[in-house]
Amino acid sequence: MLTYILRRLGAGVLLLAVVTLVTFLIFYVVPRLAGQTTEQLATMYVGKAPTPEAIQATIDRLGLDQPLALQFWEFVRGIFVGAEYQFGRDTVQCSAPCFGYSFQNYQEVFPELVKRLPVTFSLALGAAVIWLVGGVAVGILSAIKKGSIFDRIAMGVALAGVSLPIFFTGLLSLAFLVHAWDLFPNADYTPFTENPLAWASGLILPWLTLAFLHAAQYARQTRAGMLETMGEDYIRTARAKGLSERTVVLKHGLRPTLTPILTIFGLDIGLVLGGAVLTEQVFSLNGIGRYAVNAIVQSDLPVILGVTLFGAFFIVVCNLIVDLLYAWVDPRVRVAG
């Protein structure tokens, strides 16, 4: 078991390393491949007064004329041991993990990310609880009552749910539920520690919107998985033992159904933790996703790189957790490793 964990950990770290490299390559090499010169690159980050001197200064500051390998090395070194930056006459220590400073507003990237994490975390975890519980519950009920009115309605809604773009549902709920009809409080983030009630009421609409999409997907998956599981031989065995249908479904049917759901959940939650881009954008929540979008429209490379890695980190970590949970949920994995 321990080796299994270690192996998975190692794989995760390796994965992150590759993601780092690929991200770096895409942002530093693709523009060049597409024909951008060093000067043009620098011009994007130079501010509003792009004098030739200023452009040259930017090139020097960012090391844009250095060999790529060196640039990458500097980047990686920053992540592990930190780096020093010059601001005016100040030398600033950017401690590890250092993703550098934003080109646009000169903030150190990593603390900015960490600062936005509670927003994204609150959004993601709240929504995840809703969609997981809601989606799975509806899925199970639908599977058990296959063909019933409930099943039909639930699956109809779920299908609509997966077919609705989240920005559309988000916009509509903002326009109507909040502004026109005043049914919901507006989306707003208050730290949980400050006021749990305000925290929840400010996030309820984003939660529901984000959860709706996923819940719909989970309900469909759960239902399909449940129906498949209920056709397995061991379910027949359970019935043949004389177990009540409740036990058959909840004990014997649910666990195998949830196992694959767990995998998807790991991916989804990882993605959402890395920034629920559309939701945060629509509801103006200052989380990682919004930070990312802003960085992207401003071509703020250090932030983009930071966010991408941060996001990838969550996906990898969540997958790791899921893998380990998997070994717990499904004993067969333990040996297979």
């Binding site: 061991y234 065995t237 043949a240 004389g242 666990r255």
Partner: protein, 629 residues
């Protein structure tokens, strides 16, 4: 042994453990109703044992499930009267009075036992052991959990500790070593045979009145099969349960039951005392079933003689497809065992020397892998026209050996010389032309044909990959061959799923033949087929060997099958050949104890003989135990 309930009509005696009358089971499907069971009646007395036998699809499983009330909630329609341990699972009430609108009799009213009643019965009064032990246990719970659950469902007052003790006892009963430790294992940590035992233990834990076993051994080896059958018999004797044993193989049930019911297409065609049915079958279907059962006591020579005689007889009726002269010659051939060509020919067709095949097996504490030799130092020679039979239990390395000779695997050590040419290390590219000479027929007719290619394409592929471009020619060659293996040329454009297992195996044979190979390796070509189909395929192979002068390696786990087709037999165990000599001597004077064990485990048709074998097995086991002590 007395056999209760020998009456022709099942008397609705209240004493019967199971009573079935006029059972019909209908599945509505897109192509209309499938009458899986149609008017079936039987009865099993308390402590009695009934065997239900019939070919695939005859309705055996449907009946079993009905007995457990497991069709509940599906689309299946059940009528008739079905009583198990005093519970009326289904009861048909015909009202004699009323008439419906058209003046016809009212449709019978079906009364079903309430769900709660059914659940109380399941596992408690009647327990079922399913066909496939691999998929019938929940993979995510320990077996202990699953057995305890079964117990506590019916004995809610029992404490966990008590239930656990019962479970350990039950596991011990069915012969799981170290039951108090193994109770915490997960199913995947058990072999197939052990899982089947766990399922039986689960059935036993509530001491049911009836044990229903639906093909409990089909997925298992002969030796394990024998163990399970012995176990069921023991339990029945010790606990006084009734037993219903379902199988497609008469030989399997012969030694374990008092009464047999032979089913065909949902109906009982024959029913009676096991001895009587086996010795004086009344129905032709029963007779053909019996005839199809390969018998380990029939020698290769007898079998060949019989096949040729049948063939000649058939020819006499039908238009001869071959020149009369040729067939006359063959019929005239002496029915004596064919001389193994070994002595006369200097150069063997195939010479396998000291081959080994290593696999790396994952595992171990540090993710390392250990070496495992699936085939370990095997040598033999094979001469033209000869058939070498290879037997051994599952996992003994038979398929690995076959695949090495086919050079689908590269041997780790040793050499394989074909027609004087060392092919051990030939690269794939150079091997390709050689593929014409060695061909293989695979075990599973359902997976050995590409479901997305027409059978014509499947067979023609061989010619195509060997460089033939003329599609017309390919087609005509394929059609010729289809005819030869007993199919119609018009089948050319059909997809495999339109054929039965036996037909598919014929197609596979045609594919192997089309390149006119010198050597064909048959890797368990009939073990996935039921006895009647198996018989047909074996006959075909035998004919083709005559016609094409083939050299065969015939792999099987069934001793009887191997004996009927092989000139020489090699017995494999754990990657090694433990005994090899000409067929009959292996069977009549087995030298190696393992061979003897195998022989003792082979199912036989004669109930008395079967019981003798059982006693012999018990003795062998006793010996083994003693030697351990």
């Amino acid at each position: 042994m007395t056999t209760p309930g020998t009456g022709q009509e099942p008397a609705a005696s209240t004493g019967a453990a199971v009573s079935v009358r006029d059972l019909t089971i209908t599945f509505p499907t897109m192509d209309g109703d499938v009458h899986a069971v149609d008017g079936l009646s039987f009865e099993v007395a308390p402590g009695g044992a009934l065997g239900i036998v019939g070919e695939s699809g005859s309705g055996k499983s449907a009946t079993s499930l009905a007995l457990m009330g497991l069709h509940r909630g599906t689309k299946a329609r059940i009528t008739g009267d079905l009583t198990v341990a005093g519970v009326d699972i289904v009861k048909t009430v015909r009202e004699s009075e009323g008439r419906d609108k058209d003046g016809g009799p009212l449709p019978p009213k079906i009364v079903q036992a309430p769900d709660a009643r059914l659940r109380a019965m399941r596992g408690n009064d009647i327990a079922m052991v399913f066909q496939d032990p691999m998929s019938s246990l929940h993979p995510q719970y320990t077996i202990g959990n699953q057995i305890i659950e079964a117990y506590r469902t019916h004995r809610p007052s029992a404490s966990v500790g008590e239930a656990r003790k019962r479970a350990v006892d039950a596991l011990g009963r069915v012969g799981i070593p170290d039951p108090d430790k193994r109770i915490n294992s997960y199913p995947h940590e058990f072999s197939g045979g052990m899982r089947q035992r766990v399922l039986i233990a689960m059935g036993l834990v509530c001491e049911p009145k009836v044990l229903l076993a639906d093909e409990p051994t089909t997925a298992l080896d002969v030796t394990v099969q024998a163990q399970i059958l012995d176990l069921l018999d023991d339990l029945r004797q010790d606990l006084g349960m009734s037993l219903i044993l379902v199988s497609h193989d008469l030989a399997v049930v012969a030694g374990s039951v008092d009464e047999v019911l032979v089913m065909q297409k949902g109906r009982a065609v024959e029913r009676g005392d096991v001895r009587k049915v086996l010795s004086q079958p009344e129905h032709s279907y029963t007779r053909s079933l019996l005839a199809a059962v390969p018998r380990v006591e029939v020698s290769r020579a007898q079998r060949r003689a019989q096949v040729r005689a049948d063939r000649a007889a058939a020819k006499g009726g039908a238009a001869p497809a071959e020149p009369a002269e040729q067939s006359a010659e063959r019929t005239a051939a002496p029915a004596a065992p064919r001389e193994p060509a070994a002595a006369s020919q200097a150069e063997p067709l195939l010479k396998v020397s000291n081959v080994r095949q290593r696999f790396k097996v994952r595992g171990g504490m540090f993710g390392g892998s250990t070496d495992f030799y699936a085939v370990d130092d095997v040598s033999f020679e094979l001469y033209k026209g000869e058939t070498l039979g290879v037997v051994g239990e599952s996992g003994s390395g038979k398929s690995t050996l076959s695949r090495m000779i086919m050079r689908l695997l590269r041997p780790t050590a040793g050499s394989i010389v074909f027609e004087g040419r060392d092919i051990t290390h030939l690269p794939d590219r150079r091997l390709r032309p050689l593929r014409r000479d060695i061909q293989m027929i695979f075990q599973n007719p359902y997976s050995s044909l590409n479901p997305r290619l027409t059978i014509g394409d499947s067979i023609g592929t061989a010619l195509r990959v060997q460089g033939e471009r003329n599609t017309k020619l390919i087609k005509s060659r394929v059609q010729e061959l289809l005819e030869r293996v007993g199919l119609e040329p018009t089948h050319y454009n059909r997809f495999p799923h339109a054929f039965s297992g036996g037909q598919r195996q014929r197609i596979a044979i045609a594919r192997a033949l089309i390149l006119k190979p010198k050597l064909i390796i048959c890797d368990e070509p009939v073990s996935a087929l039921d006895v009647s189909t198996q018989d047909q395929v074996l006959r075909l192979l035998s004919e083709l060997q005559d016609d094409f002068n083939l050299t065969l390696i015939f792999v099987a786990h069934d001793l009887a099958v191997v004996r009927q087709v092989s000139d020489r037999v090699a017995v494999m165990r754990k990657g090694q050949i433990v005994e090899m000599s000409d067929g009959d001597s292996v069977y009549e004077n087995p030298e190696h104890p393992y061979t003897r064990q195998l022989l003792a485990a082979a199912p036989v048709l004669d109930p008395d003989e079967a019981r003798r074998h059982r006693a012999e097995r018990a003795r062998l086991r006793g010996q083994a135990q003693e030697s351990l002590a």
